[in-house]
């Protein structure tokens, strides 16, 4: 009997599966490196009775420790996959007429490779680049305050010097 039933499993399973938290943590740690220490990345986790969410947050220490959430990953408490990945640019284009209360639809990943693909898409998006550039710029201004003033004020400061 068993000989007549084929192997219905996929050819092989990927066995070194990384969790959504691990994927976001690696990206968070890399942010300091790619921004030469100007920005930091952290992963914050909250959980309820049913679900867990991890947030990849960019922190700009020099700019009032400003915090900007880039990605939110949500999954069941005991099942890291599928994981819903929420980020600017990942929301579904359809259903834009939803009420302001309705949540837009975001894609889900069934394993770490799909998750990495979505995170990569989010981190390489124009919006993310703009956010990172803005926070670096604000941090640089904060380090050299007179440059952030209007020309008039900067001139006055220079004159005093």
């Amino acid at each position: 009997m068993t000989e007549t039933i084929p192997n219905l499993w996929p050819e092989q399973f990927h066995v070194d599966v990384q969790s959504p938290y691990a994927i976001l943590s690696v990206q968070a740690n890399l942010l300091g490196k790619v921004t030469r220490g100007i920005l930091q990345g952290v992963v914050e986790t909250e959980s309820s009775k049913e679900r867990v969410q991890h947030r990849l947050v960019v922190v700009a220490p020099a700019y009032n420790s400003y915090r900007h959430t880039l990605i939110v990953a949500i999954h069941q408490l005991n099942l890291p996959y599928p994981v819903e990945v929420r980020a600017e640019g990942l929301e579904a284009k359809e259903g834009e007429s939803q009420s302001s209360e309705a949540q837009p639809d975001y894609p889900s990943a069934n394993d770490d490779l799909e998750m990495q693909h979505l995170v990569s898409q989010a981190l390489r998006s124009g919006r993310t680049k703009a956010t990172i550039a803005s926070l670096i710029s604000k941090s640089n201004d904060a380090k050299t305050p007179f440059l952030s003033h209007t020309n008039g004020t900067a001139n006055q400061l220079i004159e005093k010097l």
């Binding site: 914050e44 909250e46 309820s48 049913e50 420790s65 959430t69």
Partner: protein, 263 residues
């Protein structure tokens, strides 16, 4: 509300001499609202919010005295600002419009409350003071887990409890908020019994909900005065004539809150 209520809102701002106006589901653009407020009051009101922010902020205070501390464009359910208002070091103002029960489970609502509580904690640690207030449509009542829970907003009903500042829960210090909205629940107080009326079929129904709230840290709780749920603006009744519940045709299904901070 998502309706054009410029005239009515401008009347309220004139009537109460409002410095800071917070609107959720504003039906007009920030520019349109700013112009309406400035025209009605003769003072310049600036709009501070980013495009994605759910709660729109308008103020006649100096814009330079406002610093945003965080942003979350994915959901934009909350924003935290430090404001150089009153005596130094000023205040920390958190605004929120959390997701409602139709679009989220009770668990997800509580999770958002935990996130909001943590973000406020971090902002306080970063800025170095706790003169903090949280204002918004939390879409939860003062007695629900996300608002009362020590992992969430940890908002308690009396100043006496809140003045202890924090309590230790499972080895961790959890700061209190004082929630004065408890004092406005029901019909034995001045004003409407809640800010939102909703009937649902089922065994349990509280009918009136106090989802719009003001929470204050102990350092700021004695500063709040004249907190009220508005059921009139000028001569306009915001409630239906028969049932006495918020009238969507006149204004909104939520009633506005007004309060004064003595800083």
């Amino acid at each position: 509300m998502n309706r054009d209520l410029r005239a009515l809102i401008a009347s309220a701002v004139v009537e109460r001499d409002v410095d800071i106006l917070l609107l959720a589901e504003c039906g007009v653009t920030d520019d349109e609202m700013s112009i309406a407020l400035s025209t009605a009051t003769g003072k310049v009101y600036s709009a501070l919010s980013e495009d994605s922010d759910k709660v729109r902020i308008f103020t006649r205070l100096n814009v330079a005295s406002w610093t945003k501390r965080q942003s979350d464009p994915v959901r934009a359910r909350m924003a935290i600002w430090s404001v150089e208002a009153g005596r130094p070091p000023g205040i920390l103002l958190a605004v929120a419009h959390l997701v409602d029960r139709r679009n989220a489970s009770e668990g997800e609502q509580a999770m958002l409350a935990v996130e909001l509580g943590k973000e406020i904690d971090r902002a306080e640690m970063s800025i170095g003071h706790e003169r903090t207030l949280l204002v918004g449509d939390l879409n939860m009542n003062p007695f629900e887990d996300g608002v009362t829970g020590s992992l969430g907003l940890h908002a308690v009903m009396t100043m006496r409890i809140a003045e202890r500042r924090a309590r230790t829960v499972q080895g961790t210090q959890r700061k209190f908020f004082y929630n004065p909205m408890w004092g406005l629940l029901g019909d034995r107080t001045v004003g409407a019994p809640g800010t939102f009326y909703h009937r649902k079929p089922g065994v349990i129904d509280v009918f009136w909900h106090m989802v719009d709230q003001v929470l204050l840290r102990p350092d700021l709780m004695a500063s709040v005065h004249d907190l009220e749920i508005l059921d009139h603006i000028d001569e306009v009744n915001l409630l239906t004539a028969q049932a006495g519940i918020p009238s969507r045709t006149v204004a909104s299904d939520h009633l506005p809150l007004a309060f004064r901070l003595e800083l």
